[in-house]
Amino acid sequence: MAERLIELKSIKKSFGRVYALGGVDLYVDMGEVVGLIGDNGAGKSTLIKILAGVIKPTSGEIIIRGEAVSHWSAARSREAGIETVFQDRALAVQQSIVRNIFMGREIRNRLGFLKVRTELREAERLMREIGFTSRVFSPHSIVGQLSGGERQGVAIARAIYNQSDLIILDEPTTALSLTETAKVFHFVRQARASGRSILFIGHNIHHVFDIADRFVVLDRGKVALTASRTEVKSAEQLINFMEEVAHPDRGGKRISQAEAVG
């Protein structure tokens, strides 16, 4: 059996009286692509923000490589080898590509001064690695000048630096063109091939179905389904399941409405 990389145990999160997550269990194994799907407001973003250390859970346990963590924070999450490509990409748009790639993890000497050349070289290497090169921009270019897909490239380059073990992609294909989406997919397959784990969050179930080894369906703050690739026949089956979960009584209602009209 594959080694368990991260495990979340009965994670709860409430904002005031509203429960965003009501006890979620989730794990990701080494080298596994997990597709996290669910409707708007299902708690996907809250869950990954907890994993990324950006928000703190109300209760529950986070276990990394078999060890429960305490004082979980964004900095700790990154130290533990978890990188997140946020939905809004979390870029500083007035800064250069290099500065964004090394955001919060600057390469520096003992006095804290930046090793500018090393950063530049590493940035070029990362950009080449994910096929993110162009004549239109260089590592010195300002992120604000880039297109949406190119900005996604910066966020992904940042995520693969430092040999991270788990990369969380939150809605990475939203607002991307077809070729750009294909690039993201290519990247996910490449990352899995190199032994990394991916947590892929998506609206588009066809996208998630194509790429994930295992699916986790979240519904109103709870896990409604966990299924491996072999257990699910088609994307349609997943969609139907989600429809059912979201509207358990709809089938019956429709009939009764039809009867009323008839």
């Binding site: 950006v54 964004a74 990154r78 979390a90 500065r99 930046l114 050349r117 162009s134 921009f137 260089s138």
Partner: protein, 349 residues
């Protein structure tokens, strides 16, 4: 030396994927001169404004501007402006503002004056002032950042409060430091070297050091990111609040040094010390090309802004106009500079 060795060492692996590397290197951003101009646009703009202004002044009165005196007198007080101004660039870049630095100047210089009057060596006084300034900066920064107050209003309030405290305790009395000019500290920090006021060298050194801190240090990089996108900074594990408090501490240190230099020039500490610097220093930051919305700025440019603002008064009077024109020209330069920078700088947010 090690940097150089590293640079040559990478030439081999980089040469393998020929096409992509070539494409990267061909990009205009990679050409040194072009990159220098692009990344220093606001500073070069400020320099252009300064040179243009000086040309007009010189044309108006070549005689006065041919004398060394006028430059020497500007260079006596300019360092005071520089010490207060440079840390302010960090604060503005981080997305905050500090209007409390004049009171911090007065407060820290007060400590300096008390220590010196008590008979201790001025070096100890300088250390005491520096620590006081950093402590005040830490207090103001903590208040603004952790209580989540508007820095514009909170630091204005702190400026009044600290100044008020000074006035209450001293009852408005100044402190004369008659023994100061025999001390070693005075020779090092406030005499003349090659006909130039020696504090100018300290001011310049501070500007250069700060420029490295701003552009080439982790602190500066994080200040940029925090001012640019605080949410992203937080998501990437940067302690946004801590970075901002650090900027305030740095501002306190700068203000303290400014206060000490100003006291050393005058041999006297006044309870109002620093008051007159609020508006000229603030204006200089923006005249120099630091963006008011945070995330981008320039230390060198803002230092040139300080130079420009310092020369306005001298220049206007020397050009044969009465003192009544000074304020008008101050305003004119500020507005023209802002227009220039707006045109010169692309805004991405």
């Amino acid at each position: 030396m090690t940097e150089l060795a590293e640079g040559t060492g990478t030439a081999k692996p980089a040469a393998m994927p020929v096409t992509t590397t070539a494409a990267l290197e061909r990009h205009p951003d990679q050409q040194p001169l072009r990159r220098f101009v692009l990344s220093n646009r606001p500073a070069l703009g400020s320099l252009a404004v300064f040179v243009l202004m000086m040309l007009i002044f010189v044309a108006a009165n070549p005689h006065v501007f041919g004398e060394w005196n006028i430059y020497s007198s500007v260079m006596t007080t300019l360092p005071v402006v520089l010490f207060a101004l440079v840390p302010l660039v960090f604060i503005v870049t981080s997305g905050e503002i500090d209007l409390s630095f004049p009171a911090t100047m007065g407060f820290a210089a007060w400590m300096f004056a008390l220590v010196v009057r008590a008979g201790y060596d001025p070096f100890i006084g300088i250390a005491a002032a520096a620590l006081t300034g950093m402590a005040v900066g830490f207090f103001v920064g903590t208040l603004v950042v952790y209580a989540n107050l508007s820095s514009l209003i909170a630091t204005l309030g702190m400026n009044f409060m600290v100044r008020g405290f000074i006035l209450i305790v001293t009852e408005g009395k100044s402190i004369a430091l008659v023994t100061l000019n025999q001390s070693l500290a005075y020779k090092i920090f406030s005499s003349e070297l090659l006909g130039v006021p020696v504090q100018m060298f300290w001011g310049l050194a501070f500007v250069i050091f700060s420029a490295f801190l701003y552009n080439r240090h982790r602190f500066g990089a994080q200040v940029h990111i925090v001012g640019d996108n605080p949410d992203a900074a937080q998501e990437m594990g940067i302690d946004v609040k801590r970075v901002r408090v650090k900027a305030f501490v740095f501002s306190g240190l700068g203000a303290a040094l400014a206060g000490v230099f100003s006291t050393m020039i005058n041999f006297t500490w006044w309870p109002t010390a620093g008051d007159g610097y609020l508006l000229p220093v603030l204006a200089s930051v923006f005249v120099g090309g630091t963006a008011p919305w945070g995330g981008v700025g320039t230390i060198i440019g803002s230092a040139i802004g300080g130079l420009t603002v310092s020369f306005i008064q001298t220049g206007v009077v020397a050009a044969g106009l009465t003192g009544f024109y000074v304020q008008f020209f101050n305003g004119l330069i500020i507005i023209l500079s802002l227009l220039g920078h707006r045109w010169n700088q692309a805004r991405y947010r």
